[in-house]
């Protein structure tokens, strides 16, 4: 049995940790609040690019989502997850725990998997965000999508977009992961239907490997 880290860091990946998220909040909140545990010197308050003013009011920002520039009106506190779901109708990214502990809201940020619930929308300015909708349309991942379907990896399906996003990144970085690497690589995502066996089969078959 393995204990989940409360510090949402995946082994072998450079995901954003809870700590870096807190730093992000500190940046976004600017001079308004000092985040406990982060000294003022560490905060280095610099404006996110393209963001003119701070405050609680909504403001228009431009995000790069699935390869296209999208203008959205968000409050500074709006998470990337909220912006994707409520503002952009990209509902394939799911809200499950809202605490960065389940992986259901996984998206790619500059090619790395992050939990969209743990990042503010304004912190994604100037970064490339790819959601499940983008991955589903990208021919590069067709085999992966097919494999998830063929191996019956989705039961209720609520966690599956997050798994697909994470699998895509994993295979991008390592086209031939070992069974252990697959298990470890996906350990930040939770599936309550418990279809892990079929998910492993799907991911390994996507690269023509038989792990079980």
């Amino acid at each position: 049995m393995t204990m989940k880290s409360t510090d949402d860091e995946r082994p072998g990946s450079s995901r954003h940790s809870r700590r870096s998220f807190l730093k992000g909040v500190g940046l976004a909140a600017g001079a308004v609040a000092v985040v406990p545990g982060v000294s003022p010197a560490q905060q280095q308050p610099t404006d996110p690019p393209g963001l003119k003013t701070f405050g609680s009011a909504k403001q228009e920002i431009t995000l790069s989502i699935n390869g296209a520039k999208q203008k959205v009106e968000v409050e500074p506190r709006t998470t990337l997850l909220e912006a994707l779901r409520a503002n952009l109708n990209l509902t394939g990214t799911k809200e499950v725990c809202d605490r960065g502990s389940c992986g259901a809201c996984s998206v790619l940020l500059d090619g790395e998997t992050i939990c969209a619930c743990m990042m503010l929308a304004i912190d994604a300015i100037g970064r490339e965000v790819v959601t499940i909708e983008g991955i589903a349309k990208d021919p590069k991942y067709a085999k992966l999508i097919d494999s998830y379907c063929e191996h019956d990896a989705a039961q209720c399906g609520f966690c599956i977009p997050g798994f697909v996003v994470r699998s895509a990144e994993m295979l991008d970085n390592n086209p031939t992961p070992s069974p252990e690497e697959i298990k470890e690589g996906l350990s930040g995502n939770i599936c309550r239907c418990g279809t892990y066996v079929k998910i492993f089969e799907a991911v390994s078959a996507a690269k023509g490997r038989d792990i079980w």
Binding site: I132, G157, F158, I160, E184, N189, G194, Y196
Partner: protein, 806 residues
């Protein structure tokens, strides 16, 4: 490893006891299936994998408001006053409602009228709803509920069944005992007197949180004349309909429930979704606008039902040769503040508590006790996993006392053909229990592996290995107590292009029902499954078919589909007869080809399905039918627990293989070996997936998942500290399906959803006991409990002193 799937040659399904299952596959007495038994892709797989599936929270409507709920700040209190003025004054708030605003009856209990939707002055737990709010923004709605001022007079609480039963306990309801169930067979006093070995234990099992990834949620949209359309994530749309009509004082016809794709349920969306739906419907009624109610994760854990906490006082005795002579149990079920489904859960626990064994003398008392804790309800297994932990742990302990192999003890006492259940009913049909034990032990290489681990453990104090088994009998479908709702309907319509629409009365929640229904409908009609489309359930389209629970969905969809198909085939055969000037009763239809029943398909196809459909449309024939099925009666004597508890039974054996680090208490689950009697697998790939998932979920309850409560308050209501299995925890799972479709449902099917989970935690407990040489009496067996056991800390010293009173 690939699942071991070795179906026997398909046998002819036996007639259903009531109406016959109506299926004659391809005539000529030779059964050959084209869709059933295949593993086509799940019909909704691609939408789920690509994120296109629209769950409740993904729906949007113009003018949508967002609902929020304010709950009690005390586990037990009188509510003296509620001040909603600050909430009402907030910008964006459109309604703040309390009990006095309910137009119908303030009652949401599913079986007992013991639960108000909104507090009637007496708050009995932290989840007691005080008020509901609708606002234009979900954040504003949540701020508004927090701004409601409530004045309380706190009352003393009772936080365990033992406390609630004690003299002078606070009164939660008129009586703190909601109900009692019993089993009486033979004479246990005489039975125990004949025993050479008697063992006694108090087994304790803790709550399990469903942790479905999609939280409770719905959208309620007002329609004309005060009607409501409800999109909800649920298992039982007809329960939602009944609850909402009661609260709003409407007729059932005015409340239309459309099940939205459901992101996990596991029992947690059986009765509970009625509550958020009723709150949202009340707000929609008050504002005239669509209202969405989506729970935050923490609220979901704190307010919704859980697998019941139970204390099981267990005494079992056997003679020297291993023959079980008597079993005496007292089961205390922690109901929580409201009845919900607790009595029905207790019914299953009560009658499942002996396990799959012949016992002449049985005495079981099951008490459903109100407390001020969060409330227990349905959870995959429905009371059976709790008592299974007790009887399967006791079997291993008994085997140890008798110096018998645990498998040998199970086989000595296990059910065989013609044996009698604890309910006094002869078990119908074949009883492949021993076969399942043999298959699981063969998969696990039991004897050699046990001996190897014993030798290993004798010389390796740091890493110990264990192998443990658990066997079950599972009553498929509803218990006798649910007979009154055990029926179902289905619609089937052939369109002009030959495609077929079906509507069923049960819900898809990830188990694959839509796909199984499509396969069964295609098979029953005799066409390709690619022509069949099954919609997610809509109460406006199908009759009330009861709840999607008790592993009954495939059976209770299959029967009425077969019935509807039979009626359509009659029309098609009549038309074919007219076309070829042949008697209608000489036709059969399989895989889209009409052929002579007498001569068989090998003699050649006579007509194509499409030609006959075209001819029917040309003649303006009716090609829409309704199928219906009701289960045979289930006479039941509650005082003795004797009667027809269930009409068919499934058997299973699971074996767990573990490694334990004695320094850290870490349990590494290496393998699970599972042999399941499934009757017939409609879709073997999905059945295997159900078993794999059930094992992982049962494993979570067995060794990881522990919901901590302090005075009724959940202390870890989220995924950061309520740990459920991840990919790193999942073991290798080896599955063998036992197929013998001679009894039970249409095509010979049984149910698999629940049996897949029930033995898992018990098998693990026995494996851990084998590895550590310690008898565990409480779940979950966390690393902490392993370390305490290894350090010789007596678990009983850490618990309140409880005498073994009967």
């Amino acid at each position: 490893m690939a699942p071991v799937h070795s179906p026997k040659a398909p046998a002819k399904p036996a007639a259903n006891p009531q109406e016959g299952n109506g299926h004659s596959a391809n005539g000529n007495g030779a059964e050959q299936f084209y869709s059933v038994g295949q593993s086509p892709l799940r019909v909704d797989a691609r939408d789920k994998v690509t994120g296109q599936t629209q769950y409740a929270d993904d729906l949007h409507f113009t003018g949508l408001l967002h609902g929020a709920i304010r709950c009690s700040d005390h586990p037990h209190a009188k509510v003296l006053s509620i001040d909603t003025s600050a909430a009402e004054a907030m910008e964006g708030v459109e309604a703040v409602l309390t009990a006095k605003d309910i137009p119908g009856e303030n009652q949401i209990g599913i079986i007992f009228n013991d639960q108000p939707l909104l507090c009637d002055g007496h708050a009995r737990w932290y989840g007691e709803r005080i008020a509901v709010v609708a606002a234009r923004d979900p954040r504003v709605a949540r701020r508004a509920v927090a701004a409601i001022k409530v004045e309380y007079e706190p009352l003393p609480g009772a936080f365990s069944p033992e406390e609630a039963l004690a003299d002078g306990a606070p009164k939660i309801h008129e009586s703190n005992i909601l109900d009692t169930m019993h089993v009486r067979r033979g004479d246990t006093e005489k039975g125990f007197a004949e025993c050479d070995v008697v063992i006694e234990n108090i087994y304790r099992v803790n709550y399990q949180e469903h942790a479905y990834l999609e939280t409770q949620g719905c959208v309620v949209v007002p329609g004309y004349g005060g009607s409501m359309t409800i999109h909800t994530s649920c298992q039982c749309p007809f329960y939602v309909q009944k609850g909402v009509k009661t609260i709003l004082g409407k007729q059932a016809s005015q409340i239309r429930v459309l099940q939205s794709p459901t992101g996990g349920a596991f029992g947690g969306k059986e009765d509970y979704p009625t509550e958020p739906a009723a709150c949202a419907a009340l707000l929609a009624w008050a504002t005239g606008k669509p209202v969405k109610m989506i729970y935050q994760r923490e609220d979901d854990v704190e307010w919704s039902s859980k697998r019941h906490r139970m204390a099981i006082y267990h005494r079992i005795g056997a003679s020297k040769d291993g023959t079980i002579k008597a079993v005496h149990l007292k089961v205390l079920e922690d109901v929580g503040a409201y009845g919900g489904l607790s009595t029905v859960v207790a019914d299953r626990a009560n009658i499942s508590s002996i396990g799959p064994y012949n016992v002449e003398n049985i005495h079981v008392d099951t008490y459903c006790v109100y407390t001020n804790n969060l409330f227990g309800g349905a959870f995959r297994g429905f009371g059976a996993p709790q008592v299974t932990f007790a009887h399967e742990s006791a079997m291993d302990k008994l085997a140890g006392e008798l110096t018998m192999d645990p498998i040998a003890l199970r086989k000595k006492n296990g059910f065989r053909e013609g044996d009698t259940m604890a309910s006094g009913q002869p078990i119908p049909g074949r009883v492949p229990l021993i076969e399942s034990i043999d298959d699981a032990t063969t998969l696990a290489n039991w004897e050699a592996r046990r001996a190897e681990y014993d030798a290993h453990n004798a010389t390796n104090p740091l890493v110990r290995k264990g192998l443990g088994a658990a066997a079950i009998i599972y009553g498929v479908n509803l218990h006798a107590g649910g007979e009154y709702i055990n029926r179902s309907g289905a619609h089937m319509r052939i369109n002009e292009d030959g495609s077929v629409n079906i509507s069923i009365g049960l819900t898809e929640m990830g188990q694959g029902l839509l796909t199984a229904a499509v396969q069964m409908a295609a098979e029953a009609l005799g066409i390709s499954h690619e022509l069949v489309y099954c919609n997610q359930i809509d109460t406006a389209l199908v009759p009330d078919s009861g709840p999607t629970v008790a592993s009954r969905a495939t059976i209770m969809s299959g029967f009425p589909l077969v019935d509807a198909a039979k009626k359509l085939r009659r029309t098609l055969f009549h038309r074919a007869g007219e076309m070829l000037n042949m008697p209608a009763d000489d036709f059969d239809l399989a895989n889209g080809k009409f052929f002579s029943k007498k001569k068989g398909l090998s003699a050649g196809a006579l007509l194509d399905y499409m030609d006959v459909v075209g001819a029917c449309f040309a003649k303006r024939e009716n090609l829409t039918e309704v199928g219906w099925y009701r289960t045979p009666d289930q006479p039941w004597d509650k005082a003795t627990g004797q009667g027809i508890a269930y009409h068919s039974f499934a058997f299973a054996t699971q074996i767990a293989d573990v490694e334990i680090n004695t320094a850290s208490g870490q349990i590494d689950v290496k393998n699970f070996y599972c042999a399941h009697d499934v009757g017939r697998a409609i879709n073997p790939n999905m059945v295997t997936g159900q078993i794999e998932g059930g094992v992982v979920q049962g494993m979570g309850w067995g060794i990881m998942e522990e919901l901590h409560l302090r005075e009724g308050k959940a202390l870890n209501p989220g995924f950061t500290d309520y740990l459920i299995p991840t990919s790193l925890d999942a073991p290798k799972i080896h599955v063998k399906l036992l197929e013998d479709p001679t009894v039970a449902g249409p095509f010979g099917i049984k149910g698999i959803g629940e049996p897949s989970l029930i033995p898992a935690a018990s098998a693990l407990a026995n494996a851990i006991s084998h590895a550590t040489d310690h008898h565990f009496t409480e779940l979950p067996i966390t690393p902490e409990r392993v370390l305490m056991a290894l350090a010789g800390v007596d678990q009983k010293m850490l618990e309140p002193a409880v005498s073994m009173s009967w």
